[in-house]
């Protein structure tokens, strides 16, 4: 991603990593720092929690330490205890924002930064905090490149979700954030997190069951918590990785829960699969769809796979929708679905 290499670490060397560069770039985007500052002043730093999703954390930096001769002991610049552990991005977000409420990193593979919304919901419901900075960061590194290649899941071509010719995933990297508050504290026009659903496949570490039963359970739980039915959804942003197994199983799950006219798409043709950041990235896209009425289609879906159980939208459209859902599924059979709703004025 552009800009990562230009991040300046002078004076902050103990946090230096590609992943933490993305942490900073994301916080600096779209005036988000100012929004966090407003939240901190309003509620107090200790009343704002931090829940961050990641799958890679800063393992890219650990790879660099080994490549720099650290197979016995890390060379000087790499002796960074706060970087070489899974909580690196959550701790760095708290450090940069000055927030002192509960701070946690969730790492459930590609469902990581969807689950942070469920955690934020519960922290608010329990009265632990008045706001939660949620988000996710994942960065490109050799571990995921070599790992997904070893599983023969990557495609040499631009990924084609739900296409008859799909040949695997493209890896991406991203950072994204949102602030959750109780409804009474939300600004006018803010979209409501209406429901979350979490489930486990209990099937295989890196394959979903063909019927998508785990995905069905997370979607059903999210709909139930939101108090709506599948027919009420105007848009679903799919996990849609363009792997054979995911797209087959997710289509099966959709067919079990939704009428076929619901507009569903995968946006990974634009972004690639950003792994632990996919949940937050696709949440942001889903929120934009709710707010703007622009429903994105599926880039590179040219020849829909007629063997799939549910029709996936090829082309973007303009349509006002009230409720939208996003799906994130990860290794270990880890599933999370989120439902967002427009608040009536």
């Amino acid at each position: 991603m552009e800009g990562v290499a230009k991040v300046e670490w002078s004076g902050n060397e103990d946090w230096e990593s590609r992943n933490n560069a993305l942490v900073r770039l994301g916080l600096a985007a779209d005036g988000f720092y100012d929004q966090v500052a407003g939240c901190r002043e309003r509620f107090g730093a200790h009343r704002v929690g931090v829940a961050i999703g990641t799958s890679t954390s800063s393992i890219g930096r650990t790879e660099e330490a080994y490549a720099a001769g650290g197979e016995v002991a890390f060379p000087g610049p790499y002796r960074q205890p706060r970087v070489h552990n899974p909580h690196s991005p959550g701790a760095y977000v708290a450090h940069l924002t000055g927030l002192t409420g509960p701070q946690m990193t969730i790492s459930t593979a590609c469902a990581s930064s969807a689950r942070v919304f469920a955690t934020g919901w519960r922290w608010l419901q329990a009265g632990l905090v008045d706001a939660v900075l949620v988000g996710g960061i994942d960065s490109m590194c050799h571990s995921v490149l070599a790992g997904f290649q070893s599983l023969e899941l990557t495609s040499p071509d631009p990924c084609r979700p739900f296409d008859a010719q799909r040949s695997g995933i493209n890896l991406g990297e991203a950072a994204g954030y949102a602030i959750l508050t109780r409804a009474a504290d939300a600004p006018v026009g803010a979209v409501r997190l209406a429901g979350y659903g979490e489930s486990s496949d209990a099937y295989h570490m890196s394959q979903p069951p063909p019927g998508g039963e785990g995905a069905q359970r997370s979607m059903r739980a999210a709909l139930q918590r939101a108090g709506i039915d599948g027919v009420d959804l105007g848009y679903v942003n799919l996990h849609g990785t363009a792997s054979q197994a995911n797209d087959t199983a997710e289509a099966q799950a959709l067919a079990a829960l939704l009428p076929p006219h619901v507009f569903v798409s995968s946006t990974k043709g634009w972004t690639g699969h950003t792994l632990g950041a996919a949940g937050i990235l696709e949440t942001v896209i889903t929120l934009q769809a709710l707010e703007s009425g622009h429903l994105p289609g599926t880039l590179n879906l040219e020849e829909p796979d007629t063997g799939l159980a549910f029709p996936v939208a090829q082309h973007s459209t303009e349509r006002s929708v009230q409720h939208a859902m996003t799906n994130s599924f990860g290794f270990g059979g880890n599933n999370c679905s989120l439902v967002f709703s427009k608040v009536s004025p």
Binding site: I106, T108, R122
Partner: protein
């Protein structure tokens, strides 16, 4: 909420009764090394593929569920680790730095932080929520808070488990962990939990088992000292061993409440009231 089950594994103990006896007597067991757990609830094929981090988490999770009499199908899971599986991180980084940077697909899917809870879910057929969290040196307080919050807000049994393994050589200067250990708690909601976590008070008269209250308090706290001298090294070095002060309370050798660090400005207060010293088979599920 109540603690209905406990699991423990570490140098010199392979279950809660053994650790409890150590905490109560203060004597170090004669033989300190503990063989690697080989939990039979993992099917043989998966067990062969499972790394130590997975076996530790699954072994203690199984102990906690058995003791509580709660089916793994009924509990949501919050699994934790301060450092993750450093053996696999070491393997991945070492392989990628070599002339033959081809990684094993099994090791790659085992490298995710949620591998322990994933194997647990797969081997038990547990289909409810399975979370995997981290908080570096403060993993114990933040993951306990996460588990307790889910238990109270969703009114579900929560299986909490944490493990950290010994550091491979290059990690010694990052986190010098000489010995692995793992613990699990099976939390069940109680009738007193209809109030927010931060305001929970107790009426424990009707509840068998051990009542646990958690609350956030303002102000930073240092880590409390450990009473059991012979476990101080483990406590100091292994992030998961930072459960030991609470286990001293549960063993009846330490008075609460406990304050644990949560951030530079907040602490987690834990209050465990032991109405019924936990022995296998005595406590009942919700």
């Amino acid at each position: 909420m109540r603690i209905a089950g406990l699991g423990a594994w570490g140098p010199g103990f392979s279950n809660w009764p053994a650790l409890q006896a150590w905490l109560q007597g203060g004597d170090r067991p004669a033989e300190l090394t503990t063989a690697r757990p080989a939990p039979e609830c993992i099917p043989p094929r998966e067990r062969r593929r499972a790394p130590l981090s997975v076996k530790l988490a699954v072994a203690v999770a199984d102990q906690a569920c058995s003791m509580a009499g709660v089916s793994p199908h009924d509990a949501v899971c919050v699994f934790a680790s301060g450092m993750g599986d450093m053996d696999i991180t070491d393997y991945m980084c070492r392989t990628l730095a070599s002339d033959q940077p081809l990684v094993s697909p099994t090791k790659f899917h085992n490298s995710v932080h949620n591998a322990p809870v994933g194997y647990w879910s797969i081997s038990q057929g547990a289909r409810r929520s399975s979370n995997a969290v981290a908080g570096f040196l403060d993993t114990i307080p933040i993951s306990l808070l996460e588990a307790a919050t889910q238990c109270v807000t969703e009114q579900v049994p929560v299986l909490w488990a944490s493990q950290d393994i010994a550091s491979p050589e290059p990690f010694r200067m990052i986190a010098d962990i000489p010995d692995a250990c793992a613990f699990a708690l099976l939390l069940v909601p109680g009738p007193e939990d209809n109030r927010p976590v931060a305001q929970t008070t107790r009426d424990t008269s009707q509840n068998p088992g051990t009542c646990l209250d958690l609350g956030l308090i303002e102000g930073a706290s240092p880590w409390p000292g450990l009473h059991t001298d012979t476990l101080k090294s483990l406590y100091e070095h292994n992030p998961t061993a930072r459960l030991l002060p609470l286990l001293e309370v549960l063993a009846g050798v330490r008075a609460g409440p406990l304050k644990l660090p949560l951030s530079g400005a907040m602490s987690l207060q834990l209050n465990a009231s032991v109405h019924n010293i936990l022995h296998p088979g005595e406590s009942k599920s919700a």
